[in-house]
Symmetry: C2
Subunit: 348 residues, 2 copies
């Protein structure tokens, strides 16, 4: 067994990467939610002055990186690699942002699991001695996702109660091999926050056919990865401060708890979901938030600051992706899911 | 500088991963080309008995992996991770193949650069001590790509002379931390072939707007990565046996040579292109082959066997991707490209 492997799907980092800084940008609906005060930048208009929603999403992606780099005092030219993706066809958001930033780039597609996948691979590259720093990024945009995956917004289609709302947001985490410097410059970095372990996702499909019920499609993948992590590392949920999923929403979260319960694993009290956290029930957005941007902005605006402040010491962060396309749905295929996870710790 | 980094964008592996085995599957047009005898499996009909071209492509992806695993005597359950992607929206080919194979999976999107990106990241995971083995895969299919990116095939649209034909093919390379075993079982592995170095791609855009001229859109990215590799490793082209690009085609290859020439770097005699190699001029397929599957099948059916046989000792393999989408093209965006590279060597 290779030296950093624990069990079937989990790695322990030998030189756990440091989390240096975050950037987060959201739209006005997200800013009206319970985490509204915590985001770095709020768009007043969802085109951000661009000629299309797609161009606006790309600008958000780029600027989430620029904000995070500025906070840790890194120039763009010093960034050694960007890893990330988004929901749009051919991940054009990430690709065009990488062009604007002019940095080495690895494009990923894990649907809404992309933020965790980027953190996993960024940590592997840093721990393995290949990079000194890396930016891990993902984004989504309500209006670009609706028109690509569902219906033209102009139709005013009503969504069913199991539906979730795609978050308009981009989040970036900068990782580094060394502790963040806090020299003479005006920089805001995290304090002793490190990525310690990571668990690879597997594609899981329980035969869900309803593209308006993504939480149910993704919950089995989340359960599979959480159970793999606990089994591989010989832990129980009570040994962690929090287990946070990306965008299962209200219904998918209930399903996750039941699936784990069936295997004798009690997540209640430990489990939170970014999709549930990002909106308040008063906003009446059905089952909560979804999209690549959802875990990205909640991680970077809420979870990492809480870990840095010592409010949570050990958090399993996982993001779940639904891996279908409109074409496969039309061809009658069911919706498989995947979940990648990273264990983020505050050094004591 | 981290210990494995050479220059700005290149890594040297400390424990260079071994190339264990390959799998390749192609369609009948590819089988009629000059490399026709070398592929493991040729489809007689491009749906392979499935109900759609998309399902056929997925089956090709899955079976390219199964063929490669069988050749190195690895059971599917022993495969520690699959890395790969394809050209379809939401990389559904790779996702659904990962579901069928039931292995840990990292989905990548680098357009036609995906094969090289998968080899780069698979090598990083193995060299870093995270995995004992990994399968790196990519695929494309003429009919799925045409209908997604261009026109319904039923229209019989005539392609312009700069166009390339998307290769129907899937290729898989299995990498391992140790030399391949050749125990009592009937296995066919490579002999002393290792991934020694890798260069990260950067997104390069020279303002090409014509989606029927992808070679021109990708040549600048190929030039950028080749020059970064030579600069980072302090090499000249004559120190390598071959520099092989993925799918620049006839016109893109000419452009690459000119771009490098402008910088005083002579590639002539060393440069080959998988898109040029895969079809013969008699087939009258314009500028040659393209697509994720093009470098994947040429690498696995032709390049790796040649290296293993000692005909080439040191090969820089790079694959180039055009990173636009039909939406960005309609919105007037130009077409950026990216190229990732790996240096593959025969041990002496």
């Amino acid at each position: 067994m290779p030296r950093k492997r624990m069990g079937e799907r989990t790695f322990a980092f030998k030189r756990p990467p440091y989390v240096w800084s975050s950037g987060s940008i959201v739209g006005d609906v997200e800013a009206a939610g319970p985490l509204g005060e915590k985001f770095d930048l709020v768009l007043e208009d969802d085109t951000w002055g661009e000629g299309s929603w797609e161009k606006a999403e790309c600008k958000m992606f780029e600027h989430a990186v620029r904000i995070a780099l500025e906070k840790c005092g890194l120039e763009t030219e010093q960034l050694q690699c960007m890893l990330g993706g988004d929901l749009l066809n051919q991940i054009v958001t990430a690709n065009y942002a990488a062009r604007q930033l002019d940095v080495p780039f690895l494009g990923l597609y894990g649907a809404c699991s992309t933020m965790a996948q980027a953190l996993l691979l960024g940590s592997v590259l840093i721990d393995g001695g290949f990079l000194g720093n890396a930016a891990c990024v993902s984004s989504s945009h309500f209006s670009t996702a609706e028109r690509q995956y569902r219906f033209p917004l102009e139709m005013g289609t009503v969504s069913p109660p199991t539906a979730q709302r795609t978050v308009t947001g981009a989040g970036c985490t900068v990782l580094g091999a060394q502790p963040p410097e806090s020299g003479g410059r005006n920089i805001t970095t995290y304090n002793g926050v490190r990525v310690k372990e990571a668990t690879l996702g597997k594609v899981v499909d329980m035969g869900i056919l309803d593209a308006a019920n993504m939480g149910a499609a993704m919950a089995p993948a989340a359960a599979s990865t959480i159970m793999a992590f606990l089994r591989d590392t010989n832990r129980t949920p009570d040994m962690l401060d929090a287990i946070i999923t990306g965008d299962l929403g209200v219904f998918g979260s209930e399903m996750l708890l039941e699936l784990c319960d069936d295997e004798g694993i009690k997540l209640a009290g430990k489990h939170h979901d970014c999709g549930v956290m990002v909106f308040s029930p008063d906003q009446k957005l059905n089952c909560g938030g979804s999209g690549c941007g959802c875990p990205a902005v909640v991680l970077n605006a809420h979870i990492l600051p809480r870990i840095s402040a010592g409010e949570w010491r050990q958090v399993l962060f996982l993001a779940t992706g639904a891996l279908m396309s409109p074409t496969t749905s039309l061809q009658g295929e069911s919706i498989p899911g995947i979940a990648h996870a990273v264990l983020i710790e505050k050094e004591s």
